[in-house]
Symmetry: C2
Subunit: 432 residues, 2 copies
């Protein structure tokens, strides 16, 4: 995945991740933020964790909530990895930390936590942030801020978060730093990386952050590639009939800023078909708990079809409901130093989400017309094909076979192998 | 699926089955063929079974081997269902009966049999035949017959089998009769149905067989649709890279009788990619037992790419190897009245197989240009989407979501629901 010294990149989506390497420490900690333990956390193994708020704008009173896990072994020798979920508006606590790749995952019905044997803090010090403000436990004291949440605003807050977090945890200031995330974080992650990269060039005004690369899973790129891919994927996976697919080819120009009514109608019909199953993991069962997310079908029509709430996958498709049950418990919130100010904590609160199929990522990467470094091949894990990989200059596209949208939940062992390869810059195995 | 009185049809492939309804009892039995029990068969429940040979051509000494299971309840009120596997050259005993839909399936390492709670003899009297001669325990005393096995020859033998089997089991002579099968049986099944249908019109020369319809799963249709679908499926499921797919579009005319060298090269490359995984169930693990089937890659090149041996799927991908171990035991062969004459019984012995993706079936059905009866919709099973269904005049296309090539093995409960609907002519549920 490129040389360690130079800027590099990688992406992973569906089924696939992309990593981009761009440019870059924790051992002690802010003791006030140390988490002694969460309710119903397993007694073993020991988990070294911290949680709390970092102010990102004093004047407006904006603060982002984080949950940080030291690496399970030799934390002073391991890199720092930031994880961001997408949505926009989905909680990195509910998804990344407590449902996907963190060491403590919420179990059935939100009753207890379970230790995740494939947690990514085996390989890195792991930092989850609820971003932007308005998501989960993150907040602003200036409500008009909530109307300004474009990508640049979000990146600026995230940058300030990192600068101030590194002030609180100075032992990480020079540590190798990587940014990762999934879905709409396909926007957040590269924009934050670019901001860090640019400001690293102006050391008189900004502190240096030792950014080494970034990685995005099933990333939102732009409507053109994403929706063209959604149509191709839905048709080729027998979700929609031939005539609907043909009609999408006839009436939709996804490059257009405003879609025609005919195209909107087709897209609506496609999402209607998807409302029957879990769009994020099409062969998995759908969560049938009677929850707020049953409003999905109506919501997506209100918001240009871009919102589908339930992110399902893994073994029990209701995991996000379980996370919601758990993190709404006052004893849980107290244990992680969270402040909900009497408001119900929601796992997703934004207005854009949608499964990003591997086909969309391929269209996007193809459009970059990067020089090929090594051709498409399978990579192997546990004597089986883990997925496929193709390396370009500065970017690697990797698929994870049989994974849904939440790769580290659906294929935890494969995802951890991929992370190990990404962080160490060692190639993924090319034989059984 | 059409009215019961008129000819009707259904097909199911991959992920999908197709049923065609065309036109038309067991209670006693040929006692000599009764099977008392097989070695390591579970003691309960009781399985009423018969096995043996039916001569199909006296002069040449051709005989087909069958394994028959009475329906689990009220056998005298249930229809008769014939099941044929494809290949050509794959055993209906090894696959259909002992790995997919029969009541007795071979367990791990071929040690014992397990009762299948989703066995299709819940719904019908179930007849498995090893067809044509040369497959499994079926034989000919005239070796030159083995060079003549075109579809018409196979259909003629199968027809004679049915006529003579009904002589031995006369209580089924007027019973509703259905034919089913998968893969290359996409040729065998309709050709046998056509022969029965045609000869039913000449009652002076031929006995009447009460054929009511047929059903084929993941059926081979013709190279044009099948290979176009294989390419689209491989690309859209991230098995092959974009450039290889584009090249297939440029150099392959699958309608041609002889493919160009360039096209053969592309197809070879596609099958090389597939050799890394289980082509019959692309997200399942591959069987890693060190068996004869490791010769796959070479074999397919010898035979115009059409042979891939391991039919994997279900929980343990090595099931076909287990069946081979079990049915090569002399005690097992004796218990079912089989005669191997010292030859090793093989589960597949033919020279054409290849996964038939749902896309291929859709291309084929589309080409029939049949009038639409009811549009594409999801059908439901156990509160989840079981798959999709679209009904044409005389033909129904049904997909089974998340199934591989061996639908009754991969999705046994869904497959049984589908069979029930097919036999009863009751629609599949259209809501959770």
């Amino acid at each position: 995945m490129g040389s360690k010294a130079s800027p590099k990149r990688v992406l992973i989506s569906h089924i696939s991740f992309i990593c981009f390497i761009v440019v870059p420490g924790i051992s002690a900690s802010s003791s006030a933020d140390r988490v002694i333990g969460l309710p119903n956390q397993p007694h073993t193994p020991w988990v070294s964790q911290f949680a709390g708020y970092i102010t990102v704008n004093e004047e407006h009173g904006r603060a982002l909530f984080y949950w940080f896990f030291e690496a399970q072994s030799q934390p002073s020798h391991k890199p720092l990895l930031l994880w961001l979920n997408g949505g926009p508006g989905c909680s990195s606590i509910a998804y990344g930390a407590a449902s996907e790749l963190g060491p403590l995952r919420v179990g059935k019905n939100g009753v207890e936590l379970q230790f995740n044997q494939f947690a990514w803090n085996q390989e890195a010090n792991l930092l989850f942030v609820e971003s932007p403000i308005g998501v989960g436990f993150s907040y602003t004291n200036t409500s008009s801020d909530l109307t300004k949440l474009d990508d640049a605003f979000v990146a600026e807050d995230a940058y300030n978060f990192m600068v101030n977090w590194l002030q609180r945890y100075p032992q990480f200031k020079s540590r190798d730093f990587f940014i990762s995330g999934e879905s709409y974080a396909g926007h957040y992650v590269p924009q934050l990386a670019e901001l860090v990269h640019d400001r690293n060039n102006d050391r008189r005004r900004y502190p240096f952050i030792n950014l080494k690369g970034f990685m995005v899973g099933n990333p939102v790129t732009n409507d053109n590639y994403d929706y063209a891919g959604i149509m191709d994927y839905a048709w080729s996976h027998s979700v929609i009939p031939d005539d609907l697919y043909r009609r999408s080819k006839q009436v939709c120009d996804f490059k257009a800023v405003v879609w025609s009514n005919e195209c909107n109608d087709v897209v609506n019909q496609v999402f209607d078909k998807y409302s029957e199953i879990d769009i994020y993991n099409i062969y998995a069962p759908k969560c049938l708990l009677n929850t707020t997310s049953s409003a999905t079908a109506d919501k997506k029509k209100e918001h240009g079809l871009k919102r589908v709430r339930i992110l399902a996958g893994g073994n029990d498709p209701c995991y996000s409901e379980y996370a919601k049950m758990y993190f709404n418990r006052p004893d849980v919130q107290k244990s992680i130093h969270a402040d909900t100010r009497g408001v119900t904590w929601v796992s997703c609160s934004g207005d854009m989400d949608g499964r990003i199929p591997v086909i969309s990522s391929r269209y996007c990467v193809e459009a970059l017309k990067l020089p090929l470094k090594s051709p498409w091949r399978s990579w192997f894990h546990d004597h089986q094909v883990g997925g496929r990989i193709v390396e370009y200059e500065g970017l690697t596209l990797v698929t994870v076979r049989g994974a849904g949208h939440l790769v580290p939940r659906n294929k935890p062992s494969e995802a951890l192998a991929l992370l190990r390869s990404f962080l160490s810059d060692e190639p993924l195995p090319n034989h059984r």
